[in-house]
Symmetry: C2
Subunit: 408 residues, 2 copies
Amino acid sequence: MTTATGEHEWLEGGITAVPGILAGGVVAGIKPSGKKDLALIYSSTPARAAAVFTSNQVKGAPVLVSAEHVRGGQAQAIVASSGCANVCTGEQGIKDAREMTRLVGELLRIPANHVLIAATGVIGVPLPMDKIRAALPKLAKSLSPQGGRAAADAIMTTDTRPKEAALRVDIGGRPVTIGGIAKGVAMLEPHLATMFCFVATDAVVARGALGAVVRRAVDGSFNRTTIDSDQSTSDTVAVLANGLAENAPLEAGARGLRQFAGGLEAVMAKLARMLVADAEGASKLVTVAVRGAASRRDALVAARSVANSPLVKTAINGNDPNWGRIMMALGKCPARIDQEKVSIAFGEERLVERGMLKEGVRLERIQEIMERSEYDVTIDLGLGRGEDRVWTCDLSEEYVRLNSKYTT
Amino acid sequence: MTTATGEHEWLEGGITAVPGILAGGVVAGIKPSGKKDLALIYSSTPARAAAVFTSNQVKGAPVLVSAEHVRGGQAQAIVASSGCANVCTGEQGIKDAREMTRLVGELLRIPANHVLIAATGVIGVPLPMDKIRAALPKLAKSLSPQGGRAAADAIMTTDTRPKEAALRVDIGGRPVTIGGIAKGVAMLEPHLATMFCFVATDAVVARGALGAVVRRAVDGSFNRTTIDSDQSTSDTVAVLANGLAENAPLEAGARGLRQFAGGLEAVMAKLARMLVADAEGASKLVTVAVRGAASRRDALVAARSVANSPLVKTAINGNDPNWGRIMMALGKCPARIDQEKVSIAFGEERLVERGMLKEGVRLERIQEIMERSEYDVTIDLGLGRGEDRVWTCDLSEEYVRLNSKYTT
């Protein structure tokens, strides 16, 4: 089944919807739960590669090794494990990450530096390398054109469901496919449970053009989400473009590249929204949209302040139309705010005008909107033309329960 | 009972431990609970006054009116209400706040602009002025030299206990008393439940010297606490110095002023720690101390990042020695961090060295320390001589329960 949305046609499945991409996932025994914990993505042909990593100053060994490997601009495989992050593990951690890329390279007959690596889970514990060494041949054998879902399963930690998205976009008369899988939570404001997003495409992208497109797509998707303002030491977004679509190479500045970028951002945005909706303990996906800001930067700063406020997030959890907390969160941020010019709407229902409760507001209507699993909060600052939006979720007792008991 | 600590002698009681200070608290009917909700503090003689208010851009009407009144440097009374914050209430809110200071002034036979005003509670709802007008004469009659506790009760919202502190400090052979009451939570990173701190002293403080001393004391106390990084629209710290101690006037730069400043900061620090320990849903008071930072500024930024991290706070709640989350919180902040130089101790027990789990660490010992209701987390960044500390608390399911159900 496919549905057409604007210029994109959404496809079923995820990363293996892309021609030439195989994937698999197996149980290596890293997770005590006995669930799948080792994933592999493989492109049958060498691919152009670009990646974005956590901006946390404390970085996991897999991030350091992948950053080194992706510098060459080429990759053919991504190996990812869940259950142990291989962070704060010193020299041994780097050695282990390198060994994994070497072993995967040998199994797939590709150079070790064409293998990217990622890991999520507990910090400060070394990888159980014996288990991983034993599982890698089985992992390589599990690769299949239907294996995207198994890989999406194998990268999960506290995720309750796998995240996949794929679409087809027509570029200069050629159909190009973009597909990806993701796990965990956000990027610029991410949860320690770590976010991964692995995307493949059969597009031919010119040398040098992929990196900028990936960074922009991440900025418009994962960097516009927030769960709890914490930031993992392992976040990784990696994109492989294997060129099997045989389109004319997408060059910087060309229309084709913009079309491709739109598709890439659409896949990432869909995955990003899935991450927020499945955040630890979350029951709602709320878009905080700010317009009328003095600048776009101000709009983003204001949206983030509201979207990150624990008091706003608990009010969302309790379906409490507590607009005073939104005013508070706007006022505490460095964006320009004139409280007498602020208006706030939940869904299509205006609640606040000129910084005060709107006369005749139908609070029961707002309550109804807040009971939905997805809704928008639209804030107009009444100052200028800047606008931006952030996706957030509620803060629940379940979030606290999970994080005070689960060692991530 | 008194106990001597360094140069200070702690006294029982709070603001009415200060000569010439009367206080009282009554039920006006603002709070639905029927508990005390209107407080008054009165100095029998005109006092020098200084105050610090919320830095939130959205400010309550009482903050605006008090800021105007305190500009003259003199005040003789503080009226505070709980249950309704009088924030985002437009012109009417300002009128109501002014009327309250006028009515209190008439009752006490002092100018309206010698009355400071503060309010905490729900945002966006007008004050029930009929109830307040009816209660003010009763409030004025309730003033007594034993009334500090009643005033401390009347400013509470979700506080579970009143906060009072008082001490005596010898300045040039003259005993000077400093006493205060407080409510709510923090200041620079405060909870929307609003923090108030009202302090009185009988010290003679020279014109112009009080403001700077108050700002410094707030910076070393309330500005070093954090509950949830939200910031109220009503936070107010006000200090009255009525001069009844008849000491030689404390002038800027003089030793006497430094002694007074030490006493003032000690009272505020004690109240600040009480606020954090009684934060919504909190069960622990944790001091996050950072040393070895490249600068003092870096030490504070790093301490705040750790103290504000929801994942660190949930780990504290669960007594989980999850040091990886502390590394994460250090890495995500803009302070200079070299992960291989970081060490971390809980209480006197070193847990992390050179960014990794210390060999032979006694985790059961760390667990024991974490089970205490108060402990220190000491982080050495190994980079320089900058140090600072922040007081924080845990993030509990109870916090979420309170804030998703209670309209603050």
